[in-house]
């Protein structure tokens, strides 16, 4: 039986059609909702990822499950009340949220807090950083599968939180910073206790060195995963340790002229050239060490004197606009405050939070990675949901 040319052509066309259909089925892929209740989510960030086999085709983070509208609420509260709100932005380093806002109000009013207050502010700021970043050091390891470091982290972070509570009255939400100074001075015996705890935190960092850094499994999961090149980081506004892990040597503590006391200390800004998840972990570990050194030096040089400048009983901030940003544990946090001179609160308070920009890179960063690496990357970017959603 002979096969005609026509039959041959029909056969080839049929095969091609089958192949096309197969290809389409293959490319159909699968949509995976990571969150808001997925066990591997971070807070309540929902990430919708489209998978082709094990590979991510595209990803779309959906924030907003914790949106509280702080920018609107700031407009109907006065300046002293706003600190209560903004404590809840990055809840692991709450005190750090208050400081730039208070500095912005002070700049508009032309007040400067006395040196002792600036020192104590900086000490508490750095302790907020330690409380925030030690949790990261344990938590990222836990997300990758190493459970021991997270217990170590919670154990040692507790000492820091106890100290913050002793000084401010609040473990998580100190609400301690005031326009013109601080609410109270440090309690008796606090300084000696703090020195001990700082040594303990450094010991924790050494333990992390033993457990995690150089661990074969950890390095395999992190090295080369989620690389952010320098120019992409700048385009997305990545800041803080994430930017420094991409080789951007920029730290507002050192580079910005601030009334806070960092300029009196000797410390180092660590950067890492790789830009991958491991670099982000490593940079944060060094930052915890540096923060303990800053705290110790500030306690050594703590000046005597008042802790509050003279301020009017009722805060009336003159008309004006200002922008103050500081280097928070998660990155650059800033407040753009517009005052219209009325006795109430700010006319407009734009809150620039680091996690918002740090997470906006996720669609770019997740494209083409494998599913387990999604967890690594999200953990290594390290965001706080309150800091994205505000």
């Amino acid at each position: 039986m002979t096969v005609t040319e026509y039959q041959k052509a029909a056969y080839v066309a049929g095969q091609a059609a089958d192949a096309r259909i197969n290809f389409e089925i293959e490319a159909e892929g699968m949509t995976l909702n990571m969150g808001p209740q997925h066990p591997a989510t971070h807070g309540t960030l929902r990430v919708v990822v489209r998978l082709d086999g094990e590979q991510v085709v595209w990803a779309d983070p959906i924030p907003g499950y914790m949106h509280r509208g702080y920018e609107k609420l700031c407009e109907v509260r006065d300046y002293a009340q706003v600190t209560t709100l903004i404590n809840r932005i990055d809840w692991l380093g709450s005190f750090c949220n208050e400081v730039p806002f208070i500095l912005a109000a002070e700049e508009l009013m032309g007040i400067e807090a006395p040196p002792r207050a600036q020192y104590i502010r900086t000490v508490l700021f750095e302790m907020g950083r330690i409380a925030n970043l030690t949790l990261f050091l344990g938590d990222m390891a836990a997300q990758i599968g190493a459970l021991t470091p997270v217990f170590y982290a919670f154990r040692d972070r507790e000492y820091v939180l106890n100290l913050i509570e002793a000084a401010t009255g609040g473990r998580f939400h100190p609400n301690f910073d005031r326009i013109g100074g601080l609410k109270d001075d440090l309690p008796k015996g606090w300084i000696d206790e703090t020195r001990l705890v700082m040594r303990r935190i450094r010991h924790f960092c050494d333990e992390i060195d033993d457990l995690i850094i150089g661990n074969r499994i950890f390095e395999d999961r992190c090295r080369g995963i989620g690389v952010i090149p320098r120019d992409i980081a700048l385009e997305y506004g990545i800041s803080g340790p994430n930017a420094r892990a991409s080789g951007i040597d920029w730290d507002l503590r050192r580079d910005e002229d601030s009334p806070l006391a960092w300029k009196h200390c000797d410390w180092k800004v660590w950067t890492h050239p790789d830009g991958d998840s491991f670099a982000r972990y490593w940079v944060r570990q060094q930052e915890v060490r540096e923060a303990t050194r800053i705290v110790e030096q500030l306690l050594d040089g703590l000046p005597a004197g008042p802790i509050r400048a003279k301020t009017p009983a009722r805060i009336r901030v003159p008309k004006g606009e200002t922008w103050i940003h500081t280097e928070n544990p998660l990155g650059e946090m800033g407040y753009y405050v517009i005052s219209d001179g009325s006795p109430g609160g700010p006319f407009r308070c734009k809150i620039r939070t680091p996690s918002f920009s740090n997470v906006s890179i996720v669609p770019w960063l997740l494209r083409g990675v494998f599913v387990p690496d999604v967890i690594t990357i999200l953990a290594s970017l390290y965001f706080i949901l309150g800091d994205i959603d505000r």
């Binding site: 032309g110 385009e235 009983a313 006795p343």
Partner: protein, 247 residues
């Protein structure tokens, strides 16, 4: 500065005086001058404070200004993009309250030319503003542009608008989505303005000054209860801040 020196009312003259102030650093001055020569007519106004420089550009130079900043001036770090609504807010706790029956946008104090805008001026109710930073030389500037008076209709045609920066900065995507969601400012050239925080069926633009905050509607602001009539009561001020030691 002592708190007595800043009596309310003196601020307007102070602001006029600082209009001619020197730039906070020579680099700030260079950036502003470079923008002025690059944009020509598009450069409208600038302002310096002790630590920050502002430049207001024409709406159709908004993207061009960012391009100049990024490609020629090294301001490659996108800090944020957001909006401002200059409509006078209802003074909560005082006589002027949100009136639920009032027609939106018929406030007699409103209208073109009546908006009290901030530093670097402005003519319209809505403005977009953004901040760019140079992470190597550690300077940054704030750019502003007028966006229109709104209010936006259902067809989005009369909405306030601005040029999108997404072709220049990928990170502008989320910032512009947020600004659109909160203020209803349309960004021409944005790949897809959709809700970021709020549910998709949400109506209205919450950060506009005429969007009522229900909690404050129901219960007036308690913050002003016991602090009426401050000016001139230094005695009360002394008593309040007694723990703050005298300098």
């Amino acid at each position: 500065m002592s708190p007595e020196a800043e009596a309310p009312g003196s601020t307007a003259t102070e602001e006029a005086a600082t209009e001619e102030a020197a730039p906070p650093s020579p680099r700030h001055g260079e950036i502003v001058e470079a923008l002025r020569s690059a944009l020509g007519e598009g450069f409208l106004q600038h302002h310096y404070s002790a630590r920050e420089a502002w430049v207001r550009v024409a709406p159709d130079s908004w993207r061009q200004a960012a391009k100049v900043c990024r490609e020629q001036l090294g301001l490659s770090y996108l800090d944020f993009i957001s909006g401002i609504d200059w409509k006078q807010a209802p003074d909560l706790g005082a006589e002027k309250r949100w009136d639920p029956d009032a027609e939106p946008g018929v406030d007699p104090d409103d209208g073109p030319g009546r908006w009290v805008t901030g530093v670097a001026g402005g003519e319209t109710r809505f403005q977009v503003f953004a901040r760019l930073e140079d992470v190597d030389r550690h300077v940054g500037i704030t750019l502003k542009a007028d966006a229109g008076d709104g209010p936006s209709g259902p067809d989005r045609s009369s909405a306030p608008r601005a040029e999108s920066w997404v072709p220049l900065f990928r990170g502008a995507d989320w910032h512009e989505r947020e600004t659109w969601e909160m203020y209803g400012i349309e960004f021409d050239g944005h790949p897809g303005l959709r809700h970021l925080y709020l549910p998709g069926e949400f109506e209205g633009f919450p950060l506009r000054k005429d969007f009522p905050l229900l909690a404050r509607e129901v219960k007036p602001w308690p913050g002003l209860v016991n602090v009426e009539g401050l000016p001139g009561e230094e005695a009360e001020a002394e008593g309040e801040s007694a723990e703050g030691a005298e300098p």
